[in-house]
């Protein structure tokens, strides 16, 4: 019986957690009924799910450059997801007639 590396264990855990978040986000995207609830579900998958998977892969990377590359991919995806979610929500708000800011 060979022992499993601690790093491998953490990595597997993170990847599984990320996959779980993606699954939950996808189910939410398919099942929720309005745009904002769907965005809410989607951003969870994007932020936490991708973050977990990126971290899990970073632990397996062979060099520092690979780690930096994965971090950069994660940051770029994060940026794109943030801005597009913002734009979709804004468009959807305007479509519903709510141009002004909602009262807190």
């Amino acid at each position: 019986m060979e022992t499993i590396d601690l790093i491998d264990l953490v990595s597997i855990g993170l990847l599984l957690l990320g996959a779980l978040f993606f699954l939950t986000g996808t189910v939410g995207l398919l099942r929720f009924n309005n745009c904002f609830a769907r965005l809410h579900a989607l951003t969870k998958a994007d932020n936490v799910g991708l973050g977990c998977i990126a971290l899990g892969l970073m632990l397996q990377a062979e060099s520092g450059w690979a780690v930096a590359k994965i971090a950069l991919i994660w940051a770029l995806a994060q940026l794109a997801a943030t801005v597009s979610a913002h734009l979709i929500a804004r468009f959807s708000l305007r479509l519903g007639g709510g141009v002004r800011r909602m009262p807190p």
Binding site: Q60, A61, A66, I70, I73, L79, A80, V83, H86, L87
Partner: protein, 357 residues
């Protein structure tokens, strides 16, 4: 990005298989089979949905996803060059073009919402194909595909393929990336042809397009509405990054996957972003500079190719010792000559100008 992901997956599988026993190998192979099977089924299913769907918008979105899955398939076939090109051009730029065309379609039809099914105009005869004709055509096409597949499976693989020849001659090409060597040295005539096709497509679109300033910035550029808060920072971050990636892909083409087509596609994507956010505005006619960039790739490539007839003994042959430098020069100009027509196709205009605020 996709390449990096695929590489990680492959190296992860390789290390996993190396440390494990034979059963682990079998499990890994089984997992790859499952992955490939899902990918193939997904591609087929998506292709069917794109063609058979009755909502145009849905088809366009599914086509973009189809392009992304296609890129993953190329990465699985160990063809990262194609995967990069497919993701950038097949999914990205073609998707943007389709979405922009869709917007024009619903713009001219007036009342149609984004999710309305495509309906023929009133008074026109229904455009349906009789069921028996559709079945007949499907059966014929299926037979054809099955026949070709049957013949192809039965063929003996040739002893000496062009790919092996190219790999053997790689040292003479001046570059280390075999794909670039084939595209810009061994079969450069095909590459000239591709660039000419792109240019002719742009000219054709110029001829058919009636109103040239359709696709464009969203409503927020009207005076009454402000630009969304996050657009400025996004562009401030993405624009230098895209230029950097363009340069990297161009430079990387000499020794690893990359090259003029991928770099040009990234640059064109940046132009699409700037055009959508109103940083670039359409102009009716191209300037002299834009015209020279449009034809520059073809002209330079052909000129160097013709010069090869005198200096190197054959048309499209590079003088000895000059391979790498000439290939790099051609690739640099080609990048611009590929990016500009793509950007102008999306913009639907003859030229672009910077927006003065």
């Amino acid at each position: 990005m996709i390449r990096a992901l695929a590489d990680d997956a492959v190296s992860g599988a390789a290390t996993g298989a190396a440390t494990g026993a034979a059963t682990d190998l079998e499990i890994a192979a089984l997992l790859w089979w499952a992955f490939d099977g899902l990918l193939a089924l997904g591609l087929l299913g998506l292709a069917y949905q794109v063609v058979a769907g009755r909502q145009l918008f849905r088809s366009v979105v599914l086509f973009i996803i189809y392009g992304l899955l296609m890129a993953v398939a190329w990465a699985r076939l160990a063809a990262p060059d194609l995967a990069l090109a497919e993701a950038a051009i097949g999914a990205g730029l073609t998707g943007a073009l389709l979405l922009s065309a869709y917007r024009n379609l619903i713009g001219t039809d007036g009342e149609e919402g984004p999710h309305a099914p495509i309906t023929p105009p009133a008074g026109a005869p229904p455009m349906t194909v009789p069921r028996w004709a559709a079945l007949f055509a499907a059966a014929l096409a299926g037979l054809l595909v099955a026949g070709i597949g049957w013949v192809a499976v039965g063929l003996q693989p040739p002893e000496q393929t062009a790919g092996r020849l190219a790999l053997e001659q790689l040292a003479e090409s001046g570059v280390e990336n075999p794909v670039t060597a084939v595209l810009l040295n061994f079969r450069s005539i095909d590459t000239i042809g591709e660039v000419v096709v792109l240019f002719v497509a742009f000219l054709a679109a110029r001829v058919v397009a009636q109103e040239l300033d359709h696709a464009g910035p969203g409503d927020w550029l009207r005076a009454s509405q402000r630009e969304p808060l996050l657009v400025g920072p996004l562009i401030a971050f993405i624009a230098p990054m895209a230029v950097l990636v363009t340069g990297y892909l161009l430079w990387a083409g000499g020794h690893q996957p990359g090259g003029a087509f991928q770099a040009g596609a990234v640059l064109a994507a940046l132009a699409v972003l700037l055009r959508l956010t109103g940083r670039l505005r359409p102009r009716l006619e191209p300037t002299l500079l834009e015209r020279s960039v449009l034809v520059g790739g073809v002209v330079l490539f052909s000129a160097i190719g013709l010069a090869g007839a005198g200096l190197a003994g054959a048309v499209l042959e590079y003088p000895p010792g000059w391979d790498y430098r000439l290939i790099l020069l051609i690739e640099t100009v080609l990048t611009l000559s590929i990016a500009l027509p793509l950007a102008l196709l999306f913009s639907g205009s003859g030229g672009l100008r910077q927006e003065v605020r």
